[in-house]
């Protein structure tokens, strides 16, 4: 089984339409999507996110997140603290490196998510390009937000209309990342056709 850890934005981009989503193995590699408890805290302390994603607190989703939450041992927690410190130190040593093309230096929370990926050997899914750069530097496996969608489609765990629906909704909300846009006619050519 390979755990795919979704960061808050990646989760919010998929969770409304793919149900059930977390904790259900799919595909030959038995990918299993998961989130951290931090997602809960991040949405609940941000009024804008709560307003934009009112479905977040639906009982069924709350229970799904709780059931699929990654459980950590005391040793894991210590290792994650250490790993997050190393990653944040690298960011602060050269923040400009992460600020190209609308990028931002990965925040302490971002570093913790990547640290989870390293310690628990899972794939971190994020659309934050600064996090991708940092992950590449430290050899942490990382996916763009559209990649679990592609894996779900390949495994026939979702249908092509669902992919289209998700893309349309993100586009309508002005929330379609550039990487998703680029992937539309390359990774999802069966859904959207090849580039015109």
């Amino acid at each position: 089984m390979t755990t795919v850890l979704l960061d808050t934005n990646a989760y919010l981009r998929l969770a409304k339409r793919i149900r059930p989503m977390l904790g259900v193995p799919f595909g030959p590699k038995k990918y299993t999507l998961a989130v951290l408890g931090d997602v809960e805290a991040e949405v609940h302390r941000n009024a804008a996110l709560q307003f934009k994603f009112p479905w977040f607190d639906e009982q069924v989703l709350v229970e799904e997140r709780l059931a699929a939450r990654i459980r950590l041992t005391a040793e894991d927690k210590l290792s994650i603290d250490v790993a997050a410190g190393v990653l944040r130190d690298a960011v602060l040593a050269d923040p400009l490196r992460y600020m190209q093309g609308s990028g931002s230096p990965p925040s302490p929370v971002d570093c913790r998510v990547l640290a989870h990926g390293h310690v628990r050997d899972c794939i971190v899914t994020t659309d934050d390009l600064g996090m991708h750069l940092l992950a590449a530097e430290f050899g942490i496996r990382v996916w763009h937000g559209f990649e679990p969608l592609k894996a779900l489609l390949n495994a026939k765990a979702i249908t092509t209309p669902m992919v289209k629906e998700i893309y349309d909704a993100l586009e309508a909300n002005g929330d379609l990342p550039a990487t998703w846009r680029k992937a539309r006619h390359v990774k999802f050519s069966r859904v959207f056709g090849r580039s015109p």
Binding site: A47, S79, V82, D89, M99, S102, D128, G139
Partner: protein, 372 residues
């Protein structure tokens, strides 16, 4: 920047665990020779460094020593009842590191800085320092020190004011001072969601830090900054006049006298009261027959307006209004530099969120206003 492994910490940890170098190499997934090289002075690549830290359970500051880079120096003006933890200090230092790239975007500053070379809380020495500062500002000891005087001093000393809206509760600090020694620049974050009557004192407190960079971040620096702020805003001569006028009057008349002075000087009743008390002690005179509790009760009996309420209507302000106020009221180059970073380097809202310590929504509004 030179980074070296703390070999002693590594060997100590190996000893504690009864591990050989070969076992460490196996656990990290490198050759024995690589570990030998590390212990002889070479520095690991990022992914090996991460594995080494996690394998040994050594936090980065215990594992790596950084040379040739001065750490940002931070000082807080804490809210009442809060305690400063390592987390607060690390967070503030993190902001300091993130501010480093912004410095090259600031206008060149080559002004003659003011320094207080022998800072002391001794009444007589403080009085001299205040006389000198007021003389440089071209105002006498009885004159009201205006906000413009203070703001001008920050500008002259290359201290960048960063007005922020951190709310009246929640955050640990109401002001944050971050000095970057390598860049010789100081950033002073001031929370505008505070009572106007306290704000001038905090600005003067922060100015004291700017005048005494070598004390920044120390207890001694905090004590001096408090003492200097009170004496600068309400000097010996004012305290003496207030004392003589209030002396011998009824308690309520005394409070009226002190309140009038506080109002005239745009400072809190407590600032006037404390300065008068210091004057009396130094002169060997009897203190006014009022106690601290009474002063705080009088202060708290009226709901004071905040700086943000005075500046913005409605609250919270539009991002563009907030940015304009930073430039026009506080003469701050902060958002000018930030705007350049956004436009020239394509920096995103996440950077703004981290350096201003504001919610993502607010940082996105500010980013949107700076892009235009």
């Amino acid at each position: 920047m030179v980074r070296i492994l703390r070999v002693e910490a590594i060997t100590q940890r190996l000893q504690d665990r009864g591990w050989t170098q070969a076992q460490l190499a196996g656990a990290v997934g490198v050759s024995n020779q690589t570990v030998t090289n590390w212990l002889a002075g070479s520095f690991p690549r990022p992914r090996a460094l991460l594995k080494l830290a996690v394998t040994l359970g050594l936090p980065i500051d215990k594992l790596v020593e950084t040379r040739d880079v001065a750490e940002p120096v931070v000082a807080f003006r804490k809210k009442a009842g809060t305690r400063t933890t390592d987390q607060h200090i690390n967070k503030a230092r993190g902001i300091g590191y993130l501010l480093k790239p912004l410095v090259s975007m600031l206008p060149e500053t080559r002004q003659l800085r003011t320094l207080i070379t022998s800072p002391s809380c001794d009444y007589g020495q403080l009085r001299k320092a205040v006389e000198q500062t007021r003389s440089e500002l071209g105002i006498g000891q009885h004159a009201v020190l205006s906000y413009n005087h203070l703001i001008g001093q920050f500008k002259k000393n290359a201290a960048i004011l960063v007005p922020v809206l951190w709310g009246d509760k929640g955050n640990h600090e109401n002001a944050l001072h971050i000095r970057l020694p390598d860049e010789d620049v100081t950033f002073v974050f001031l929370n505008l969601d505070v009572k106007i009557e306290d704000f001038k004192f905090w600005m003067a407190h922060e100015l004291a830090h700017v005048y005494t960079p070598e004390l920044a971040g120390t207890e001694q620096g905090e004590d001096f900054a408090d003492a200097f702020a009170g004496a600068l805003l309400f000097p010996h001569e004012c305290a003496e006049a207030a004392y003589r006028e209030a002396c011998g009057q009824s308690k309520s008349a005394m409070i009226s006298v002190l309140s009038r002075y506080a109002h005239e000087h745009e400072v809190s009743l407590n600032t006037v009261y404390q300065q008068v008390k210091r004057f009396a002690d130094q002169a060997g005179a009897q203190r006014l027959a009022i106690d601290d509790k009474t002063i705080h009760r009088v202060r708290n009996s009226v709901r004071a307006q905040t700086v943000s309420e005075a500046l913005f209507d409605p609250l919270p302000p539009e991002a563009s209004n907030y940015i304009s106020a930073a430039s026009s009221v506080f003469l701050s180059d902060f958002f000018v530099a930030l705007g350049r970073m956004v436009k020239e380097r394509g920096v995103g809202a996440g950077y703004i969120q981290q350096v201003l310590d504001v919610p993502l929504k607010d940082s996105m509004s500010i980013h949107g206003a700076l892009v235009v």
